[in-house]
């Protein structure tokens, strides 16, 4: 410690910075203020991804691999960073990484460069045309800035033959599209990059990313207005789910929530917002009152324009795959929903999936609860645990001693709470969940303890621990407190995390469900791929066999796997299921396995039928769910299966 109580930052070598950067998975959580720490000032000011912590990490990787050479802009990028440390707080909470070390090493590296090593980037007519539309500061062809978008819209090894443009309104986007068409340059919009980041290490990269041309970064469309009277919000395409949710809550309202860092307009279009709140709040076109879109001719349209072709319907069938959006959603008027004073979280523990599924669908069909889902043990462990090791131990304890393999998580009012409680043996209430969050380090240390050995001998360990005499012993053993949980973080960040964990919302399961700041912990220092889809719930065995099919694939290829979540849709008639595979994104062999699973599981799902797979979901969010989900898909025939294989062969690469 120095006299002014600041820890001196040890210098990080460039090599170590590369190692840290490679562990990053582009979750995008450093681009909005989810901990009350503030947000990267350089990123906020300059916009381009290169100026955000995530972008600096990618640049370090790209420089190291030799794909890019330093440019003048690189100097600007490092100079814009004052090593304020906000990124360390944010990133460490999710991934335990330290992006500030990477930023520091990048600064050192740039300072050591000779002027002759800085390459000059010539401008061209396309760049001039884009600058005429958005102004000089907001369009570039600088390879360093462009390289920062690798893995979150650009494939890892294409030539950096691109431009990035940051428009600030719909009219500019319309002009960019017209300009791109006229000049025969491809383009693709980019929002939070969260869908891209999940797809990038896999075979999907070729289909989903931009092969050359113009990246339209939508971050600057930051309009956000809440209309309390109509319970709606108008949002620009640059607004994240977290930012909308925060503003809505100020008015005691709530948006249909999914990934915190996903931009809402993008999420509407990409998946129709798959959410645990979907049974109550809706899906696909249920989410919005109106959309403003720019089509591929550059025409600006609204869904509400009454003299236009029906914008709510789409071609049914399994070949209705689309790998890019048909329009750019530039603004949405979304529905908001009331937050009730008596909302509470009730979690029902299960040792087996059949019983959990049965309860879930029963509740879904009766419209009980606001948010409804089966969450796997793996999810609980990942979300609640502050570090990777704790999550592994947490998982072990749940599996081996408690037989806690699934929970049905219900957010509901007091009336619905009574209904749930009447239907089940025991529940985990809010207070015990708080103890599990603040006591996660102790909980994970209980593995192999006498206490757990005794518990595991109980006939029904779940009941004994959550509703029986063992509960008070558990609470005592956990000794839950912000001090305790913050001790597992790096020493210099412990005070900060103590304050974070002292905030009521950090242990409030309702808030955590709505603001979803924990799911990115699934991608801390490793990657996950979550295939699945929405399946008709009318045939329980069919549904459970489908889940088993995913488990078998994971076993066969020896990839870590687990059910993610199941959540009902359309009054329980369908339920969305995500099955997750976890892997090292830096290992080519692992990536191949994930690619194979992605393709094979989709094919097998289509053969089974009664399902709309995630790949069929993609880019259908602006249509009515009735047009997307119905008619319920039949299993595909052998001839169709052949066609499907051919199709994926040409699209994704023959190697799969």
């Amino acid at each position: 410690m120095t006299s002014d109580n600041v820890l001196v930052m040890e210098k990080t070598s460039f090599k170590d910075a590369v190692t840290i950067a490679k562990k990053g998975t582009h979750c995008g959580m450093c681009r909005f203020d989810f901990l009350g720490s503030g947000v990267c000032p350089a990123g906020r000011k300059h916009g381009f991804l290169a100026y955000w912590p995530q972008g600096r990490m990618e640049i370090v990787k790209q420089l190291d691999s030799g794909r890019v050479k330093p440019t003048e802009k690189l100097k600007d990028i490092v100079n814009s960073c004052n090593l304020c440390g906000i990124c360390d707080k944010q990133c460490n909470f999710i991934t335990q990484l330290r992006p500030e070390k990477v930023a520091g090493a990048l600064k050192e590296y740039v300072d050591s460069l000779d002027e002759s090593e800085i390459q000059h980037v010539p401008e061209d007519d396309i760049l001039h045309g884009l600058r005429e539309i958005v102004g000089d500061d907001w369009a570039t062809n600088d390879p360093i800035i462009i390289s920062a978008y690798t893995m979150t819209i650009l494939p890892p090894d294409n030539k950096l033959n691109y431009y990035v443009v940051m428009p600030e309104n719909t009219e500019q986007i319309s002009k960019i599209v017209k300009f791109a068409n006229k000049n025969n340059v491809p383009y693709l919009p980019r929002s939070g990059g969260t869908a891209f980041s999940a797809a990038a290490p896999t075979v999907l990269v070729k289909g989903l990313s931009l092969e050359q041309g113009i990246i339209i970064d939508l971050y600057r469309l930051r309009n956000l207005e809440i209309h309390p009277d109509s319970q709606t919000a108008t949002i620009g395409a640059g607004i994240t789910m977290f930012e909308l949710q925060k503003e809505a809550l100020n008015h005691k309202l709530r948006a249909l929530a999914a990934e915190a860092g996903a931009h809402v307009c993008s999420n509407i279009l990409t998946t129709g917002i798959i959410s645990t709140w979907g049974n109550k709040y809706g899906a696909f076109a249920d989410n919005f009152i109106d959309l403003t879109t720019v089509d591929d001719e550059g025409n600006i349209k609204k869904h509400s324009d009454w003299e236009r072709n029906n914008p709510y319907s789409t071609e049914p069938g399994f070949t209705n795959l689309s790998l890019t959006p048909s329009v750019i959603v530039t603004e949405a008027v979304v529905k908001l929903h009331p937050v009730f004073d008596d909302e509470e979280a009730v979690l029902v523990p299960f040792d087996n999936i059949r019983d959990a599924f049965r309860l879930l669908i029963k509740l879904g069909k009766r419209d009980v609860g606001l948010s409804l889902a089966v969450l796997s043990r793996k999810y609980l462990a990942e979300f609640l645990s502050p570090t990777i090791q704790i999550s592994k131990d947490f998982d072990y304890v749940c599996k081996n001693y408690l037989k806690l393999n699934y929970v049905v998580a219900v957010i509901c009012d007091q009336n619905d709470k009574k209904i749930v409680e009447d239907m089940v043996n025991c529940t985990i209430d809010q207070s015990l969940m708080k103890s599990l969050i603040l006591g996660a380090p102790r909980f994970s240390k209980l593995r192999d303890s006498e206490f757990l050995k005794i518990l595991s001998e109980e006939e029904d360990p779940l009941k004994a621990i959550f509703a029986g005499p063992m509960r008070k012993h558990l609470e005592k053993a956990l000794d839950p407190s912000p001090e305790q949980v913050s001790k597992v973080f790096d020493e210099d960040l412990q005070d900060f995390f103590k304050k974070v964990y002292s905030k009521p919302e950090m242990t409030d399961i309702v808030w955590l469900h709505a603001f979803r700041i924990l799911p990115t912990r699934m991608m801390r220092q490793q990657m996950f791929m979550g295939p699945g889809g929405a399946m008709w719930t009318g045939d329980e065995d069919h549904y459970l066999n489908w889940i088993q099919m995913f488990a078998d694939m994971g076993d066969k290829l020896d990839v870590e796997h687990s059910l993610g979540f199941i959540s009902p849709l359309d009054h329980g008639k369908f339920a969305y299921m995500e099955y997750d595979y976890y892997y090292d994104h830096n290992d080519p062999e692992e990536r191949n396995k994930i690619s194979k699973i992605t393709v094979d599981s989709m094919e097998q799902s289509l053969v089974m039928g009664k399902v709309l797979t995630i790949l069929n979901y993609l880019y259908k969010g602006i249509y009515r769910k009735e047009h997307v989900l119905y008619p319920i898909a039949k299993g595909i025939s052998e001839e169709e299966q052949e066609l499907f294989k051919e199709l994926l062969g040409t699209v994704l690469g023959e190697e799969i």
Binding site: N181, N183, P186, G207, E315, T324, P325, E646, L647, T650
Partner: protein, 137 residues
Amino acid sequence: MVKFLSEEWIEIGKKYMIEKLDPVKDLKSITTSLLGVVEHIPPDDSTMNFYLELEGGKLKDFIVNTGYTFEEKEAAYEIKGNYGTYKSVLKGEMSLGIAVLKNRLKVKGSKMAALKLIKPLDGVIVSLQEITDEFEE
């Protein structure tokens, strides 16, 4: 040197397909017709189209026109896209399938039906790739 959409392109294309493609093996005895609309052609941003008709795997018609439609015949399938996209397909940088799935080539009518065509049309695409080596800049 054969330039995409030129008269020569049509002539050499026809000859190549007739000589080199086996109607059964390469073209799966397919009977269909296709209108390809090419937009934003440099240097003056014009639009052209080409009409291609196969009967029992044999080339029946291959014609280039200006504008969006070919008045004389109605094609079973219509695809539309930028000059740049056709150029990428003909240079082998992007497959026809991926161009359709990426919405770079838009299909009129059912995407499913059009995708079924891709495999049988492979031979045609390869032929056109072989003969086309000049583009407007």
